[in-house]
Symmetry: C2
Subunit: 133 residues, 2 copies
Amino acid sequence: MRIGEVAERAGVPIKTIRYYEEIGVLASARRLPSGYRDFEPEVVERLRFVRASQALGLTLGEIREIVAYRDHGDAPCAYVLELLRHRRDQCAARIAELRLAEQALDALVERSAHLRPEDCPATGVCHLISREA
Amino acid sequence: MRIGEVAERAGVPIKTIRYYEEIGVLASARRLPSGYRDFEPEVVERLRFVRASQALGLTLGEIREIVAYRDHGDAPCAYVLELLRHRRDQCAARIAELRLAEQALDALVERSAHLRPEDCPATGVCHLISREA
DNA sequence: CTTGACTCTCCAGTGCACTGGATGCTTTAC
DNA sequence: GTAAAGCATCCAGTGCACTGGAGAGTCAAG
């Protein structure tokens, strides 16, 4: 299967597939006499795996580690589990941060309803934000 | 005030201050005969404003716009308000995304408690993740 | 007067994940 | 046979916000 078909089936740009190969997320593809890459059909599945992992917040570096385990013949389960746990914690932490920011933003937007531009002091940049400091 | 003192008072690295000046987040500082930057004390306040804005998720590009309003003599209130609203909506959207990812990760971690490595199929990379696709 | 701390500019690199463009060979369709 | 589509490599750029280092000038203390 040539790169264009893989790209279409997996829904990943051609450039990206070559990039994945370059950084080791995909193994180097076999070549046709023409020099064209010749992929196994399984690579489509692997690309979906990569995209699914990305959607969960794993980095390409982590994904490369996972597929390296598999390509060495080991089941990556324990490593994957560790990554997933870590990533879940990061998620939770990030959500907490964003909630705080959201609340602060909400309070600011709310407060602005009660302010008139004339109340702006001449000093500083914008007391809407800087009073927050 | 020289750059080192500003850096210390505002808690911002020297390099970063020069960078802010370069991209227009800070106005170009006056210079001493030696060539050293000579800052007004107010720049410390402005740096705090920049950091507070960043903490709310505004980009340096947006912050530059805000201070540009102020430096042209206009109160940036309306513009700031628009940014804040937009940013709040982005925040909410991102939180929703992360919640989904968190739930998926949680389900995966949970499920892994009931799987043994022996159950791993030989094909694919890791069915823990790829079944999710 | 020397040493060390401070500052200057300029260039380049980081991290992450791509993306674009130039240039040229190969394959496919008509 | 020719034109278009597909593929190849290589280099370089994107966006964001810095960060590091080289090489050189300046200032304060002893």
